[in-house]
Symmetry: C2
Subunit: 198 residues, 2 copies
DNA sequence: CGGTCTCTTGACGGAGTTCAAAGCTAGTGG
DNA sequence: CCACTAGCTTTGAACTCCGTCAAGAGACCG
């Protein structure tokens, strides 16, 4: 059965590669749709990440806990984006990251077994994967630059560009955790920014 | 002709995938060896990165200049590692990074045309690429964590783990640029670390 | 030798943290 | 529909890490 969620993910993929009808059907057949309520976990630290996820709607945070016990957010997974703990998924290692729903969220997931099968059966899918990780690599490089050489205020601007509208949907302490500053400092920073404008 | 440099890169690849004799020969036939003297550039900002490089020996720095005019080093390319400005190479965009030799260096390079050809002709090569960018992605994620949540001293430890012995080969201001601190602060930090031990 | 590059040292300033307290919001249950 | 609580946000003071500027000490070329 082809649900609306499956339609979305397939049309997302078709933006990047071409699939025959048979290939698209094969792909659709291995997708599983899953709902996660706000505050529920999609993956916990130490679990093995056995699925690759595509977010249909809602929003997840991907985090880890640093040595001081502080939650750091490395990415928000919003609608139309992929999310996986790659190291755990590929190498069957305990997950370093955890993923938790910030809003009620719907995802499509693909098991590792099916993921490998798709790579074998569909050459274009291999190509899609390649593109995905190359682009992911480029995006991460950009984030490293920013965290190395931009002050919090500019990182905040980048956040707003990268996730338009997300600021209105989530508590601001999560933005602080994404930027790598304390909620207290983030609050100050916003106030100062406003004062500069008016 | 199969030179020593070509041997090295091929045996590097064979650690990860299997190639037939014909495939290995095809691969070897498109490699070009190139020498870069210390302080020479392999790529300048704004150029198009037309090759994918494998470093046989020596060392390069991969850098950009931030808005304040400071050189930031995002990676050292030492012997047995790959280096390319991915965004420039894939999308034919002006390079954001530059690459300069820190020591006399020998590389093997593959043009974009041949790179694409290898992907078409050798399925295993596609797989190798995939692996490369997935691992690159995992490594970058780790570096983001570090720059977000570790003080300079711990980032310094990671540097020493990641590039064993490199510290002795390069000026310490380059390490500071890699860690994202000023040479002055780095000098202080090292002194303090020594004082703590003794 | 002399000049450039690199490393060290010190005084000072600013960005961001920590801790603590108080004010706000938004659920939640009665 | 109100009251209560838990979590979020703001504010402020003291503190830390790290940057800037400046000056001197080595070190490595030509």
């Amino acid at each position: 059965m082809i649900t609306m969620e499956k339609e979305t993910i397939i049309s997302h993929i078709l933006k990047h590669i071409t699939l025959s009808k048979a290939e698209a059907d094969l792909f659709a057949s291995v997708l599983e749709t899953k709902h996660i309520a706000r505050k529920e976990y999609l993956l916990r630290i130490g679990d093995i990440c056995r699925y690759d996820y595509f977010v249909n709607n809602g929003c997840l945070k991907v985090c880890y806990i640093d040595e001081k016990g502080v939650e750091c957010i490395i990415k928000f997974a919003i609608e139309d984006s992929w999310v996986v703990d790659l190291d755990s998924f590929l190498n069957l290692r305990p997950a370093f990251y955890y993923m938790q729903a910030i809003e009620d969220t719907t995802v499509c997931r693909i098991s590792k077994l099916n993921h490998d099968m798709l790579h074998e059966q569909i050459p274009a899918f291999q190509k899609f994967s390649n593109m995905r990780w190359q682009n992911g690599f480029i995006a991460l490089q950009r984030r490293i630059q920013q965290s190395l050489s931009m002050p919090a205020e500019e990182r905040y601007s980048s956040f707003k560009e990268k996730y338009p509208g997300l600021e209105q949907r989530i508590p601001q302490k999560l933005i602080a955790a994404y930027l790598g500053v304390t909620p207290e400092f983030f609050s100050l920073m916003k106030k100062k920014a406003l004062a500069t404008i008016s």
